[in-house]
Symmetry: C2
Subunit: 161 residues, 2 copies
DNA sequence: GAATAATTGTATGTATACTTACAATAAGTG
DNA sequence: CACTTATTGTAAGTATACATACAATTATTC
């Protein structure tokens, strides 16, 4: 039987540039943003090893800033839906960082509060998170860093909905 | 019993700026990137309604460009791990867009190929995806769009690992 | 004040994403 | 050739993310 012509080797020379051609999607902004998010999460995980995920840290900070906030308001504040936030709070509660307290005003709502370990966790993790943010933008000049932040904020402001 | 002082209403005035203060995390690059990715996924879903997810589209394009590529090489090409890619291919196969063919060279490897419906899907979805990319950057000037792409590419180039 | 509408947290289901571990296979070495 | 090492796809487990639907509750309207 003759060797098949459509094997991996021939496929790699089927495109104009075998192994490292541009592949259409690589230039799409959506793809770039996704890859960038992967990098940010990876850097975060490397620095804050195992203690918290980015979302858990954001939730912790928000609860610290707004004690007794409800889950829906918390989700809206940091940009999630209620369903996802429920799971995030579950894990923060399991770790003993956050407590769900019955709200005095709305019997549907859980008033979220930080426990002592939650405050300690923020204090211990915050410097690492700041380092992550600095490292993430480290390849950029100061001008580029400002441009990047301004552009991101502009995009987010125009895509609210 | 006196009314508790730590209810939601008092909490909202506990911070310097009740409902719309900056909350630390809101200025972090990692947070901005995450929100941006959410926007990109949302725009994609609105335009390409239900047919494909962003990852599925990227995989389809990559297989179209490199027929008989294996799952590990595909994952590396578009920036995923093998485990995630397995599930993505599962769904593309279920939809009849892609086939796993036994590789002629490596009996561990699945050679991935597009089926006819896969080619049709790309043709039908590609214009919509291009529209999404345009809409995503629409709030920016042409200069800002170029800056954004350059900055993203610079960041990704420096954070390969 | 009763009927309707809206909101809260939860549950379910789907789809990323990653880690670790695994069996099968391939590639490397002596 | 045997031995070691690396690679392939998969499985299992964890954690986002989102849509939809749901019961309990609150807000609104008549």
């Amino acid at each position: 039987m003759p060797r098949l012509n459509s094997s991996r080797a021939s496929a790699e020379s089927g495109s104009s540039e075998p192994g490292r051609s541009g592949l259409f999607v690589h230039s799409m902004p959506g793809h770039l943003v996704r890859r960038l998010q992967q990098v940010a999460v990876r850097l975060f995980a490397e620095e804050v090893n195992g203690d918290l995920t980015p979302v858990q840290f954001a939730a912790l900070c928000a609860i610290s800033d707004r004690p007794n906030i409800g889950q829906a308001a918390l989700a809206a504040l940091i940009g999630y839906d209620r369903a996802t936030m429920g799971g995030v709070i579950d894990r923060l509660e399991q770790k003993g960082l956050v407590a769900r307290v019955a709200s005095a005003e709305d019997r549907r709502s859980n008033a979220l509060v930080l426990k002592a370990a939650g405050h300690r966790m923020i204090a211990s993790v915050k410097p690492k998170v700041e380092a992550v943010q600095k490292n993430l933008l480290a390849p950029l000049s100061e001008v580029e860093q400002r441009q990047f932040e301004a552009i991101c904020l502009k995009l987010l402001a125009h895509h609210r909905g």
